[in-house]
């Protein structure tokens, strides 16, 4: 009961804030709306018992990634004339056309779900911290370790091309 009410509140907030992201003229406002949006997505994850995803969503997306966004926005620091000029009618038309097949797929999925099928049944502890931990250190042990090698290679590459003086 309460979970249902909360779901509708959070879901509405997600949609409203997502619209706010693309309608605000000032990019800083858009970024802040995105931060709030990601918080509500995290809340949705909590409602379906995906605790690990919820925490990661806030830490990584609302925290780290959005701070990077804000840094970039402030570094570029575009004034109102640069932001106000472009109308991009053509781009909007293309986006609408591309939206069409996506909408078809979403409709198809919703139709499937309303018939009681479509989505895969998951165990009840799916997405909890314990279940994710078992997967990461069990079945997905090798990908987890390889990801660390990948990150190390990325750091070495970034330092090699960006550090001011290497010797």
């Amino acid at each position: 009961m309460w979970a249902d009410i909360l779901f509708w509140v959070f879901a509405a907030a997600v949609i409203v804030l997502a619209l706010a992201v693309i309608t605000f003229k000032n990019p800083v406002n858009s970024a802040m709306a995105l931060v709030a949006d990601l918080f509500f997505v995290a809340a949705l994850f909590v409602l379906v018992d995906a605790h690990f995803l919820a925490v990661i969503q806030i830490l990584l997306y609302a925290g780290a990634v959005m701070v990077l966004f804000l840094f970039v926005i402030m570094l570029i620091n575009q004034g109102p004339d640069e932001l106000g000029r472009a109308r991009r009618t053509f781009a909007k038309a293309v986006a609408l056309i591309l939206l069409f097949p996506l909408a078809l797929v979403v409709l198809r999925v919703v139709e499937n779900v309303s018939k009681g099928g479509g989505f895969l049944k998951v165990p009840s502890d799916y997405g909890t911290i314990e279940a994710v931990g078992r997967l990461v250190f069990g079945q997905y042990l090798l990908p987890f370790e390889v990801a660390s090698v990948l990150l190390l290679a990325a750091i070495i590459g970034a330092v090699a091309i960006a550090k001011r003086r290497l010797w």
Partner: protein
């Protein structure tokens, strides 16, 4: 849950190469500043050789290790060795030329080893998650290698272009993985094969996901229309890196294409809907034809040898795509082609590296009359170009011969005719370089004051040797390729 030694040996090539990369970073940071880093190249070649050797001594294991993440079958073994070979040649080219061009640091070798490690992991992946991680471990060091000449604007531009477009393609691949997972409920390639074997027309998410996976991989392999980055990146990157991108990364991308598209989505080849036959087949047909046509015709008007070779490498992707379509004999032909292609393309780039200097010297006009001043380099270049064009008695002739033979056996008559036609077109732009070298008078002095490099000469000689040996006696190499492709459908 436990990991046994039998699991670990499957990823031995990856462990050797990435461990070598770590050691090189340590050696680099503990060596005195401003001392030559040439010895690190020697270490790199040692680790690549050990990694290639370990791929061959590890017992074949077709059921997957690490909970279904990786396996070591003939394909993984063969392509790991090809990638290590390509990276080894790139190291030889880098040892003398990179310091001259202002990038004397050891990171290049570490990045090369990381990239080769990722490629060997990609070749042995048995799960879409591993394919993704392999692709990224392969690509991210490559972006940094493209930008290794930090003072050169074109190198920086190449790195940036490669990075932005590569990240975009990775997004496609991830999106495809997510869609496939939402339809199949698993990322294991075996489960994917079972799910796509029948009734895939009823699974829209699987179809969308499969196409997105194909887009992501087609970008890495530089298939037209996802090839736009290739000429600029190959042209702007330092030549050793270009040699690796054009051969090692291409071989890894074809490993992924074979694993994901041919082995895991085989059912999507053709199915009848309302009397119309639809399927992969037609997408591939179009991609192969477009790749051969666009690259061959664009190469005709290029004025830079590196750009001509870049378009030539895109053209060869088109021929390889024909092989992918041709079923079991096609798989063996693709592997054999990738091996021969590595020798002749690395060889051609090695000659470019030999003749270039800090002022450039890769323009077609720079090559005018070069046969008089550098007769041996010009002769080697001519052999590599004849091989790339597919003229006997070079390895390139047999590679094309077996590929087109497999295509005819697979019933791809139209594509074979197109392939032969565009091979003839390609002969024109390869011969343009030969004509410039032997028949034109040279005015440009840029390529006169080059400093000789023993490592580059070694690379040229080895490539020349193998290009000619495979051209004269291809049987042993072909039978290895056939044995490696034995698990293809």
């Amino acid at each position: 849950m436990t990991v046994t030694i039998n699991d670990v040996v499957v990823i031995l090539p990856f462990l050797v190469a990435s461990g070598g990369a770590l050691l090189i970073i340590l050696l680099d940071s503990f060596s005195a500043p401003r001392t030559p880093r040439r010895f690190l190249g020697g270490f790199t070649i040692f680790f690549l050789a050990v990694a290639a050797l370990s791929a061959y001594i590890v017992p074949l294991r077709t059921e997957s290790a690490f909970h279904g993440m990786v396996m070591m079958d003939g394909l993984a073994r063969f392509l790991s060795v090809v990638v290590m070979l390509s990276a080894g040649f790139a190291t030889l080219l880098a040892m003398d030329r990179l310091p001259e061009q202002g990038s004397a640091r050891g990171e290049f070798y570490a990045l090369l080893l990381f990239s080769a490690a990722g490629a060997s992991l990609l070749a042995s992946a048995a799960d879409l998650v591993m394919v993704f991680l392999g692709l990224e471990t392969l690509s991210i060091p490559a972006y940094a290698m493209a930008a290794a000449l930090r003072r050169d604007v074109r190198s920086t531009e190449a790195g940036f272009k490669y990075f932005v477009l590569g990240a975009f393609a990775t997004g496609f691949f991830l999106m495809g993985t997510a869609l496939v997972y939402s339809s199949v409920g698993s990322t294991a390639l075996g489960r994917l094969a079972a799910a796509s074997a029948s009734g895939w027309t009823e699974k829209p998410l699987l179809c969308m996901g499969a196409v997105m996976l194909l887009v992501g991989l087609a970008f890495k392999a530089a298939v037209v229309p996802f090839h736009m980055w290739a000429p600029d990146v190959y042209d702007g990157s330092p030549t050793p890196a270009t040699a690796y991108f054009a051969t090692g990364i291409k071989a890894a991308a074809f490993a992924a294409l074979l694993r994901v598209v041919i082995l895991s989505l085989p059912g999507m080849r053709a199915e009848e809907i309302n009397g119309n036959e639809i399927g992969w087949h037609y997408i591939f047909w179009g991609l192969a034809a477009a790749t051969m046509a666009v690259s061959s015709l664009t190469a005709l008007v290029q004025k830079d040898v590196k750009r001509i070779l870049a378009y030539s490498s895109v053209a060869h992707v088109g021929y390889l795509l024909i092989g992918l379509l041709a079923g079991k004999p096609g798989g063996a032909a693709v592997l054999f082609y990738l091996l021969v292609y590595t020798f002749m393309t690395v060889g051609a780039f090695a000659v470019v590296a030999y003749l270039e200097n800090s002022k450039g010297g890769t323009k077609l006009s720079d090559y005018a009359g070069i046969a008089k001043r550098h007769p041996y380099a010009a002769a080697a270049m001519a052999v590599f170009l004849f091989s790339l064009a597919g003229i006997p008695p070079t390895g390139g002739f047999f590679a094309k011969f077996y590929l087109f033979k497999a295509a005819v056996q697979g019933g791809l008559i139209n594509l074979t005719v197109l392939g032969v036609l565009f091979s003839v077109v390609s002969a024109y732009y390869y011969l343009r370089i030969v004509v410039a070298m032997y028949m034109e008078q040279g005015e440009n002095q840029a390529v006169i004051d080059i400093s000789p490099s023993a490592a580059v000469v070694t690379a040229i000689c080895l490539c020349l040797l193998f290009t000619i040996i495979i051209g004269l006696y291809p049987t042993p190499y072909l039978s290895v390729a056939q044995a490696s492709a034995s698990m293809l459908p």
